[in-house]
């Protein structure tokens, strides 16, 4: 399973590095979202710092939908899925591989968004450990849920409208726990963040487990 996962993750990342769709389309969208949020809230420094945790996670969630569509598009054609079956790839391995690739892409996006908040919103992070833990746990949860729901959402012509409707409601716990953890990180409330980091960890474990168990049946013809 892990060998298959490494193969699939390597393939997805290689395709992204060569096509640069994520680099030129998805990442600019995330930065644009941050700028538009700042325009909507006005130039008040205090207001921007106060709203920064919510804006960070909203920008991340909306970008995750684009990442999920992109990740699914790589697997989209029936011929690709048929080839994976003929090669004897374990569906659980395919799921894990796609999750790892998406996780790494989301971590890059989170770094970019945090740098954006530091430079544009003048956010001061007090507890980096809490912020990094929240970002890593959330990225894993977002990646596993996105790959699972990408497989659920069917063919390409419908996926662009259906996937956000299916995916965003179930990401609500990540949004709530992520915002609380971020608030703890910028207010030195490290003690308060434990419960919310726990929520992020449980979400990640549950969706990774569900994906490993259900990805195979979902990909059957």
């Amino acid at each position: 399973m892990f060998r298959d996962a490494a193969l699939v993750a390597g393939r997805d990342l290689r395709i992204e590095l060569r096509s640069r769709v994520v680099l030129w389309q998805v990442l600019p969208f995330s930065v644009l979202a941050l700028l538009l949020f700042a325009f909507a809230f006005g130039p008040s420094q205090a207001r921007l710092v106060q709203s920064a945790p919510g804006l960070f996670w909203l920008a991340l969630l909306f970008s995750t939908v684009l990442f999920a569509q992109r990740s699914r598009a790589l697997e989209g054609s029936p011929a690709t899925r048929e080839a994976a079956r003929l090669l004897g790839l374990d569906p659980a391995g395919v799921f894990l591989g796609k999750t790892v690739a998406l996780f790494l892409e989301l971590v890059v996006l989170e770094v970019l968004l945090v740098v954006g908040l530091l430079l544009l919103f003048h956010v001061v992070v007090v507890s980096w450990l809490v912020l990094i833990a929240a970002c890593l746990l959330a990225a894993l949860g977002l990646a596993s849920a996105s790959v699972l729901y990408g497989a659920l959402s069917g063919e390409a012509r419908i996926r662009s409208t259906l996937l956000p409707v299916l995916l965003l409601p179930i990401l609500a716990p990540v949004l709530i726990a992520g915002v609380r953890s971020f608030q703890a990180a910028i207010k030195d409330g490290a003690g308060l963040s434990g419960r919310w980091l726990g929520v992020l960890a449980v979400f990640s474990v549950v969706y990774t487990g569900l994906g490993i168990a259900l990805y195979g049946p979902l990909e059957e013809n």
Binding site: L152, V165, P169, V206
Partner: protein, 240 residues
């Protein structure tokens, strides 16, 4: 037996709902604290019971039965679809009746309370399920996707149920099935409440049976259309 059920279930459900409304509005006394606002208790908890536990419980069970290889049958997929469709209607009714009670009691139509928020999320997730059902696909592929979706969404049901215990919420705790199993409602009010649960459950069963039959007819219609189209193409081929 089936015809008898068809003939009596719907009218019986409507008569019981009408009886519930009559008892709730004219016979039972007003509450000491809430006054006449308490009369919504003869609608709102029963509607919520049907939506959260009966409808989504049935959808979850049918989805498990579909996914289990030994019991795999499209009948369970149709039953789950029927339960979710009616369940979404009852969930929206739960939110509406709750809002009607909340406005005079809490002073707002809606508040970001854990019970209300998790119920709204549940409704949106099952709306997503209904959207997923509309995606054209081979019946078993669609059934598999929808079964997984229903199971993932059903995880929210215990969160909705226990939200009043896990978080400090405005929404009151359970009146009948509370932790001590000691009902906090008595006399004619308790009997009317019980009647409301029976009436709305029967109404749900009647609606689900009707919706299930529609689903079966729709799929057999689709198959007949496909068979006709195939024989027409074959006939064209034979003529050529």
């Amino acid at each position: 037996m089936r015809k008898q059920l068809d003939r009596w279930l719907g009218p019986l459900a409507f008569v019981l709902v009408a009886l519930d409304v009559w008892l709730g509005l004219w016979i039972t006394p007003p509450d000491q604290v809430q006054g006449d606002y308490v009369r919504l208790v003869y609608v709102h908890p029963a509607v919520a019971w049907v939506a959260l536990y009966v409808a989504f419980g049935m959808a979850g069970l049918c989805s498990v039965l579909y996914l289990w290889p030994r019991t795999r049958s499209l009948a369970f997929d149709y039953a789950a679809a029927a339960a979710v469709e009616v369940g979404v209607v009852f969930t929206i009714l739960t939110c509406i009746t709750g809002a009607i009670w909340g406005r005079p009691t809490w002073g707002v139509w809606w508040t970001w309370d854990a019970r209300l928020t998790s119920t709204a999320l549940l409704a949106v997730m099952f709306l997503g399920y209904l959207a997923l059902r509309r995606v054209p696909a081979e019946p078993h592929v669609r059934a598999r996707r929808c079964a997984v979706m229903a199971l993932v969404a059903a995880v929210d049901v215990p969160i909705v149920h226990f939200s009043v215990n896990w978080w400090n919420t405005l929404h009151q705790g359970a009146t009948v099935l509370n932790a001590n199993l000691s009902p906090r409602i008595h006399g004619s009010m308790a009997w009317t409440l019980l009647l409301s649960f029976i009436a709305f459950t029967l109404l749900f069963v009647w609606m689900v049976i009707a919706r299930y039959r529609l689903e079966v007819l729709r799929h057999s219609g689709e198959n007949k259309d496909l068979d006709r189209a195939l024989s027409e193409r074959r006939a064209e081929g034979a003529e050529a």
